[in-house]
Subunit: 147 residues, 2 copies
């Protein structure tokens, strides 16, 4: 049972990106590529992640290209979708911007720990795929943001 990969339109990718709360951040490190789960939110066209200043993500140099991947798999039907956002990221330090972000929609980490650093990823590319035509991932996603 295999299905044809179908490209998602940019607006579908953005809609899915805004519907989720956890993804995987992809980084290039001296030890090779790293892929780690992270909670995020999307505010003002930027993906925001909270982290510790001494984490791999917290230590990135401003402008480093970072990826965020989200997906869902349906193991019973061998079906799924994925979206990849990629662009330059930077830690956020301006108190005004942090205050705005915290008012509007701060990422809410599931993991305990001091995470005072906000890292913003302004995506330059946003691409996605689903397996099989004739279904809409946005109608079947387990997660939808609520206020």
């Amino acid at each position: 049972m295999v299905a044809e990969p179908v490209e998602l339109a940019p607006w579908e990718c953005e809609s899915l990106l805004r519907s989720q709360v956890v993804g995987r951040v992809g980084l290039t490190t001296p030890d090779g590529p790293s892929v780690l789960p992270v909670n995020y939110s999307v505010v003002d066209g930027t993906i925001w992640m909270r982290t510790a200043p001494d984490s791999q993500l917290g230590r990135i140099t401003a402008g480093t290209v970072v990826a965020l991947e989200i997906d869902e798999f349906d193991h019973g039907r061998h079906r799924g979708w994925s979206v990849l956002a990629r662009g330059p990221a930077a830690a956020l330090t301006e108190p005004d911007v942090v205050a705005h972000l915290e008012r509007v929609w701060p990422p809410r980490p599931w993991a305990w720990g001091d995470k005072p650093t906000y890292v913003g990823l302004r995506w330059a590319t946003l691409t996605g795929l689903k397996l099989g035509a004739g279904w809409d991932p946005r109608h079947e996603t387990e997660v939808r943001r609520t206020v």
Copy 2:
């Protein structure tokens, strides 16, 4: 509701790795880090992925460090686990080895398409985390390999 991250033991990571059928391959590309879903299997201590020869994964130079990430999230309980395998990868071309792999446990792609290239990732590091103590991800995973 936040939980403390707890490190998984190497044998727990390997057990989870062997229980799953789909993960995300992390690569370093000229356009930055890439994270893409992939079906895989584990045979003889190596992660095997099938791909097209002209894909990002199919084009890697032998010895390039590649990552494979697997995880599961419980959105209701804000809980989850993740495992990251990382090590040198190479496309497999020897007919004997391909024949062995196809007899034993070939990765079965969900996505339609010609995927004659097998890429093997021999992990040098295998690390993982779960959120919160007192539960065993291996008992709650949705996916378990069956023969």
